[in-house]
């Protein structure tokens, strides 16, 4: 009965209820989309960063990250391999040997980064095969090379051409070799496009005179949210001779920009919620003021104040609930659409993003928790604000209320 009463009362002042619902609805849609876009952008950035090259987690010889030279390479011993196989939470891992060389073809010479990789394993780490724009993908025993598109362009080479690499190997030895171009790679990041050259790991080890050595082992976790935990476990097990680093440590500027971004978002959301709070509150204020006589009459004829309060709570919750449920229902397809068809942006922001090596897009996250959280926040606002009608129900004096 109270529910029915609350429901009918809702439609008594139709336009007011609808306006309140609409404002809750708009706020929820805006909040969900803001949060979804923000989360989507972060997820995208992180995925891009780790997916382009770095990976979520790397193991190096202690001190390698600060001094990235071949002298800090290490041997992936059996015990280390066992450790990687037995630690739970690791999806795949791949070893890399990375150094700097001069690459030349004909008249043209450019500096580039040579990475010896286990091609098959890299597919599970950075999806390297998907980046292949032309030619064929390397195999473990291949003696050819894959290069970034832009690097190939600057050296005026293509698939089938030969490239000469010149650099320094282990202990000051000379590193020199000739490699056939098997494939061209396209990275989302211009920086990688311009600088990367991939060899198979054995090939690179020979080139740098570093048989059996690697500079890093890149790890892809089964659950990215448990990354820090995994890093901790590995760090303990690997001992002081190795350093275990997550993308957050390898790219601290990323973490900072995410933190700065999220502060901005929380302010926007805060303002949004403040606005609807005032909207809902003023509705409740008017509603309570207008209906004093009715409330007085109800209590006079025998309605307990507790029940009156309950009725008013249902009324205000119905408004917020309806508004936010519809808001969530509407924003789900929008978020999904924006996830599939991300907003592209251009101009300065795009430049900054590209300098960091990310695609300049705004995808939306469709993580369920976003919808739930935003919906819940609005619900909580509704609940908190319904304290006002509850309070006024309990302090109501039937005689005075009816005199008004």
């Amino acid at each position: 009965m109270l529910l029915l009463l609350a429901w009918r009362n809702l439609w008594r002042n139709k336009s007011r209820s609808l306006i309140t619902m609409a404002s809750v609805f708009c706020a929820v849609v805006l909040a969900v989309l803001t949060a979804a876009l923000q989360q989507g952008v972060w997820d995208n950035l992180i995925k891009n960063v780790v997916g382009y090259y770095t990976g979520y987690l790397q193991i190096h010889h202690e001190g390698y990250w600060d001094d990235q030279t071949l002298e800090n390479a290490f041997e992936p011993t059996d015990s280390l391999q066992t450790l990687l196989q037995t630690t739970p939470g690791i999806n795949t891992s791949a070893a890399r040997l990375e150094s700097f060389v001069l690459a030349s073809s004909g008249e043209k010479t450019r500096g580039c980064i040579v990475v010896g990789v286990e091609p098959a394993r890299e597919e599970g780490i950075i999806h390297l095969r998907e980046k292949l724009a032309k030619g064929t993908y390397l195999t473990q025993t291949d003696d050819g090379a894959m290069v970034g598109e832009e690097l190939a362009k600057r050296l005026s080479i293509g698939v089938g051409d030969t490239i000469v690499l010149l650099g320094q190997g282990m202990y000051g030895s000379m590193a020199a070799g000739k490699f056939a171009i098997r494939g061209l790679l396209h990275f989302g990041s211009p920086e990688l496009n311009e600088n990367m050259l991939f060899l198979s790991l054995p090939n690179a080890q020979t080139l740098f005179d570093a048989a059996g050595l690697v500079t890093s082992i890149v790890i892809s976790p089964t659950d990215t949210r448990a990354l820090d935990q995994l890093a901790g476990t590995l760090n303990n097990r690997a001992g002081p001779t190795h350093e275990v680093m997550t993308w957050k440590e390898m790219m601290p500027e990323m973490v900072q920009s995410i933190a700065a971004d999220s502060a901005g978002m929380y302010i926007i959301l805060g303002v949004l919620y403040l606005v609807i709070s005032f909207g809902i509150f003023s509705t409740l204020l008017m509603m309570v003021a207008e209906r004093q006589r009715e409330f007085g009459m109800l209590v006079a004829v025998g309605l307990k104040k507790r029940k009156l309060a309950w009725m008013l709570t249902i009324e205000s919750l119905l408004v917020t609930l309806t508004g936010s449920v519809i808001g969530i229902l509407v924003s789900i397809p929008i978020a999904h659409y924006l996830a599939k068809n991300p907003i592209r942006f251009s101009g300065q922001t795009a430049e900054v993003y590209e300098r960091f090596g990310f695609e300049a897009i705004f995808p939306a996250s469709t993580e369920t928790s976003i919808f739930l959280t935003q919906g819940l926040i609005v619900l909580v606002i509704g609940l908190v604000l319904s304290a006002y009608p509850i309070f006024s129900a309990f302090k109501l004096e039937a005689v005075k209320a009816m005199r008004k």
Binding site: M1, L5, R8, N9, W11, R12, R293, E294, M297, L298, V299, A300, V301, G302, L303, K304, K305, R306, K307, A398, V399, M402
Partner: protein, 233 residues
């Protein structure tokens, strides 16, 4: 004779700290079952205040009010609300009905609060609607009813809970004389046929004429209390 209301030495003072208003001053009143009593007096004489005290809507500063043997003077609020629900019917001058409920639902509402079953409610609502002559308005919203019809529904609502008595504060004040007389007819009929006790305040001489006992208040004091056959013309 059975006494349903026993107001003993009752006083109500508004603003006792600042400018005290003795709205009801040392009133003694006994009402017996089956009475049809009018409370009259000039504006501001304390009629509403007295009715509120008798109905347990307000508390006296002094004195004691016993309803059907129960002293309600010091009852706790929730207890008092329940007591009103089960013992006293109210008809106010206006705003009697819940605007979003139909005539039937308005009458039913009070029985729902009492916890009556669906069957009991349906039966009683039908009977009451018939008695007030509004069987055809069962599912009509209050806004679609005339003022007189609304007051009749209010009487039915007051009656629905099977109270000890019905208090009506100027029930006809907003009605034209035809509607007022119709309402009084219904009240008088219920009084006669069901022995329902009515106490109503009024200014209207035509309404006063219908009463069988007239209690006059002046400045919060009862100045006369007469059975009307003595003053009838």
């Amino acid at each position: 004779m059975e006494i349903v209301i026993d107001a003993h030495n009752v006083s109500k003072v508004y603003n006792p700290e600042t400018i005290p208003v003795h709205a009801v001053n040392n009133v003694h009143l006994h009402v017996e079952r089956g009475e049809f009593t009018a409370l009259v007096g000039p504006s501001g004489s304390g009629k509403t205040t007295l009715l509120n005290l008798l109905g347990g809507l307000d508390r006296p500063n002094e004195g004691k009010i016993v309803i059907n043997g129960t002293d309600i003077t010091d009852m706790k609020e929730n207890q008092l609300i329940d007591f009103r629900l089960n013992n006293i019917g109210f008809v106010f001058q206006s705003f009697n009905l819940i605007p979003v409920l139909t005539a039937k639902e308005n009458i039913e509402f009070i029985m729902l609060l009492q916890g009556a079953s669906k069957k009991q409610r349906d039966e009683r609502v039908q009977t009451l609607l018939k008695e007030i002559g509004l069987s055809d308005k069962t599912n009509t919203m209050p806004s679609q009813l005339s003022g007189g019809q609304q007051q009749r529904v209010a009487v039915a609502r007051a009656l629905a809970s099977k109270p000890q008595f019905i208090l009506a504060d100027e029930p006809t004040a907003n009605l034209d004389s035809k509607s007022a007389s119709d309402l009084l007819d219904i009240m008088a009929k219920l009084n006669k046929e069901e022995n329902m006790t009515f106490i109503f305040s009024t200014h209207d001489s035509r309404v006063i004429e219908r009463a069988r006992r007239v209690v006059t208040l002046v400045d919060g004091r009862i100045t006369s209390d007469t059975a009307t056959f003595q003053i009838s013309h």
